[in-house]
């Protein structure tokens, strides 16, 4: 009885002190997006939804584009890259943890093979495929994945 309450106490101290440290050191540092989708919405769907379900949107769009030639831009992988990766010449490739996709996928230990074929950086200027016309230029809203958001991702409940 005494032993078990001691263990609980030690665990409590460890967890209590470890959690803030983890939030700073281990949680991914997600690069900010280049644009906002609209005045009220950062990404093409609500951010929490995108964090959980982006793969479903991309998969759906993938089949529609390849087989049916549907090329609207809202869930297009090219447009994800155009907005979430800088078009600077020294922008990180997907192999780097500074790349938007890899910043979180490294943390989640989920390897992605999209970029074995797909371009992992935006089209350079001069292409007509570059920008989402409805985007409003701003600094982006992203940044650190907070413990609250992480909790929301795991539990599926919006914070």
């Amino acid at each position: 009885m005494r032993n078990s309450s001691f263990i609980v106490l030690v665990l409590g101290i460890l967890l209590g002190s470890a959690t803030p440290g983890m939030a700073d050191g281990l949680l991914p540092d997600i690069p900010a997006a280049q644009d906002r989708f609209s005045e009220t919405q950062g990404c093409v769907e609500p951010t929490e939804d995108m964090r959980k379900n982006h793969m479903e949107y991309i998969l759906h769009q993938r089949d529609e584009t390849v087989h049916e030639g549907i090329r609207d831009k809202q869930h297009s992988l090219n447009e994800c890259i155009n907005c979430h990766v800088s078009d600077a010449p020294d922008a990180p490739h997907v192999s780097s943890e500074k790349h938007f996709c890899n910043s979180c996928h490294t943390f989640a230990a989920v390897s992605i093979d999209c970029f074995q074929c797909h371009a992992d950086r935006p089209v350079r200027s001069g292409s007509d495929l570059h920008s989402l016309s409805q985007h409003i230029k701003s600094t982006g809203e992203s940044g650190k994945l907070t413990p609250e958001n992480l909790q929301a991702l795991v539990s599926g409940v919006k914070p």
Binding site: H67, E68, I70, R71, N78, Q116, C117, A119, D128
Partner: protein
Amino acid sequence: MSSETNIDLYRRRFLSGTASAVAGIALVPGVMLHEIAHAKPAEDAVSSDVRWGMLIDSNKCAEGCNDCVQACNDEHGLHGFDRPATDAQWIRKVKLKDKQTGHTQTLPLLCQHCEKPPCVDVCPTGASFKREDGIVLVDKHICIGCRYCMMACPYKARSFIHETLQDQKPYTPRGKGTVEACTFCVHRVDTDRTPACVEACTAENHNAMVFGDLNDPSSDISRQLKQYSTRQIRADLELNTGVRYRGI
């Protein structure tokens, strides 16, 4: 009673007459209708109302000219690894020689976008498919790289990617372990533009290649196909190719 019937009859005649007059007006600017039909909204699926095709005039295709091949390589980011036997090749120049007379001519050979494509028949996963508008493609998400399609293709139009690639073009995803071929520049066609090879050939004033809708009788390609004698390569296979040739 009879007068009412007559009035109905007059009315009907008048209305049908008006309708045909309106139809006449609408049909006169045929080019306009044709252009509207091709400007597909981005969110719409392609339909079988259109069948894309290409007409190549080998008489206008100069020996030594490589503009179409270069344009294709640039457009899709194709580059070699100094291995001519396996390097990707979506379009290539072929030289024909009549052994009796010594007469030579050249033509570009690419995926013929068959109506009944053998590559689609043999594909075990469904990766090789034909779009509603007749463009034959590989869905590289499902391609397992077995290369049956390469063996089935009578035109040797497909390539297999042996090397790890980097810096692909955003609109042309390409990766190791998959088969690929000419896409008729599907990303351009979907936004109402012509394939890069045709654009280059026309821009250099060779005008040996025409691209358009085979289902539209008023399109440039359909009119030329009607006017001139053209051939399909290996027409005996009855694949009904989308690419036709003049002068061979």
